[in-house]
């Protein structure tokens, strides 16, 4: 906590720059380590060096040769995208109603989604396992999509209703006065204002689905629907005697890339989404 306001002396600038470096190192060290492992050849894998002595792309080539990884990657992308799309649509509808309309049961819905945000997900593993087996949803895409939608809905509803409350709704009325139909007023005036919020929410929900491990490992059993985080756990390498460290590292880097891209491009939005949803409620 430096002083309030205060002059930007070179000494203070240096101090801040140093603090920045500490933060950057803190955030990146584990990422750099797995990146380095992914480029190491089998012979140098266990030399404990942070910078590979022999660089190779073999680990990446290897994981894309087997269906074990490519299938899991396809599952991850498909399941996360579908769950995100549905959760964002349902969340947008509910958040619009919460931010804009008066109706009995509104607070109940807000309370219920808060409860779900705090829900211990592991408590659902046993009953969902049994219910999904009975319904034939076990080890299928919908079997994972459904819980993902459920647990991302509170996030979507909170984030979106915080965004929606910031929209100047008077504009809609003004557009109608100028002769726009309700549909036009919504489509031409409100939707463009709401789009960034919806997009931000979609990124947050996607990150959540992409990350999940508990449901993915409990509600799948084969390559049919196993997602990458779980597939990593089952990697054995090309042959039984091969150490899968290189393959796991390469696969880990591949599924980290989309997240890094999101973070780099949409940093401002992710921060505003996370904080508006969580703190402003």
């Amino acid at each position: 906590m430096a002083g309030v306001g205060g002059a930007q002396t070179p000494a203070r600038k240096t101090k801040w720059a140093l603090l920045n470096i500490v933060v950057v190192v803190y955030a990146l060290v584990p990422v750099l380590w797995i990146l380095s492992l992914s480029f190491k050849s089998p012979a140098t894998l266990s030399d404990g060096n942070l910078i590979p002595r022999e660089w190779t792309l073999e680990n990446y080539a290897a994981i894309f040769r087997t269906s074990e990884f490519t299938r899991a990657l396809l599952n991850s992308i498909g399941i996360a995208l579908i769950a995100t799309a549905i959760a964002v649509v349902l969340g947008t509808m509910a958040a619009y109603a919460i931010a804009r309309l008066e109706f009995p049961g509104k607070r109940l819905l807000v309370g219920a989604s808060l409860l779900i945000a705090m829900f211990p997900q592991v408590s659902l593993v046993s009953p969902l396992f049994e219910i999904e087996r009975a319904l034939g949803l076990f080890d299928t895409w919908p079997g994972l999509i459904l819980p993902y939608i459920t647990f991302s809905l509170p996030l979507a509803i909170y984030t979106l209703s915080a965004f929606f409350r910031e929209i100047p709704w008077e504009l809609e009325k003004a557009a109608k006065m100028d002769g726009a139909t309700p549909g036009q007023a919504f489509g031409k005036v409100i939707a463009p204002l709401a789009a960034p919020g919806v997009f931000t929410t979609a990124i947050l929900v996607f990150i959540f689905c992409w990350n999940d491990f508990l449901f993915a490992i409990s509600l799948t059993s084969t390559e049919n629907s196993r997602t990458v985080p779980v597939a990593l756990q089952f990697f054995t390498g090309d042959s039984q005697f091969e150490d899968p460290t290189g393959s796991i590292s390469a696969a880990a880097v591949v599924i980290t890339i989309p997240i890094i891209v999101f973070v780099l491009f949409f940093q401002r939005r992710i921060v505003s989404g996370l904080t508006s949803g969580a703190v402003k409620g």
Binding site: V24, F119, P127
Partner: protein
Amino acid sequence: MVQTAPTAPGTASDSGAMSEGKRAERKLGWLLCAPAALVMVAVTGWPILYALWLSFQRFDLKYPDRREFVWLDNYITVLTNGYWWSAFWVTVLVTVISVAIEFALGMSLALVMHRALVGRGLVRTVSLIPYGIVTVVAAFSWRYAWTPDTGYLANAITPDGAPLTEHASALAIVILAEIWKTTPFMALLLMAGLALVPDDLLKAAAMDGAGPWQRFVKVMLPVMKPAILVALLFRTLDAFRVFDNIVVLTSGAQDTSSVSVLAYNNLIKGLNLGIGSTMSVLIFIAVALIAWIFIKLFGTAAPGSDDKGRR
């Protein structure tokens, strides 16, 4: 940030169409919320009741014909079992230590991000990386880092041992991985709280001769209290669910299972639905208790509960 109160359509002015407009609004509200509400009830409400029902039965998928209603037998079995209590205390330990350290680190990080003179954008971007990264990936990175030979940390810090194969050091690594991953999230929530502290108040305190620490404790913390409690509540509940890190780092060996890992093992590896469901219900109760304690004792305003004044 200013909360613009949305003007509800059909208020006061058009009193003639009021009742009809109100009814239409109600209907639209319900219609728009119904799908979300249905999914949430179907995937959480119904299964938790079903878990309760299963928890009263002896139900092992390996012996399906021995399924039988046994009332509280499963609860007695679980609650008198050493593994359960070991997992319970491991979970409590991981939760308390990681949330405490995260709070201290997150607060420092939030202050850095809030006041940064140089490279604020860079710091914010970089600190989001741990939040976004798949927990399993991060856990693998920590696992390799602490494995002799592949690991830079293991080689540098414990050249003779394998820290992941001993109880205390394995737990410390689980906590470390947990802290690394979630501190940025805590920091972001706290930063949003910091934004609520008026600069004038800090200046006034400084004029009155309050030092940085006094300004922090006497001015910033009280103003930030709601944001802090929400952040702590969410992180505590989240930490109590710790699963990915433990599965990847130790698979629960050396008594490092959390309650989630234990429940998972009983269900998926043991295929024992009765015991698995009993644990599900017990974890649910534990989490409900934590939330209740936060809300009652610390007076956390649950987000959304104070919406009357805001809208």
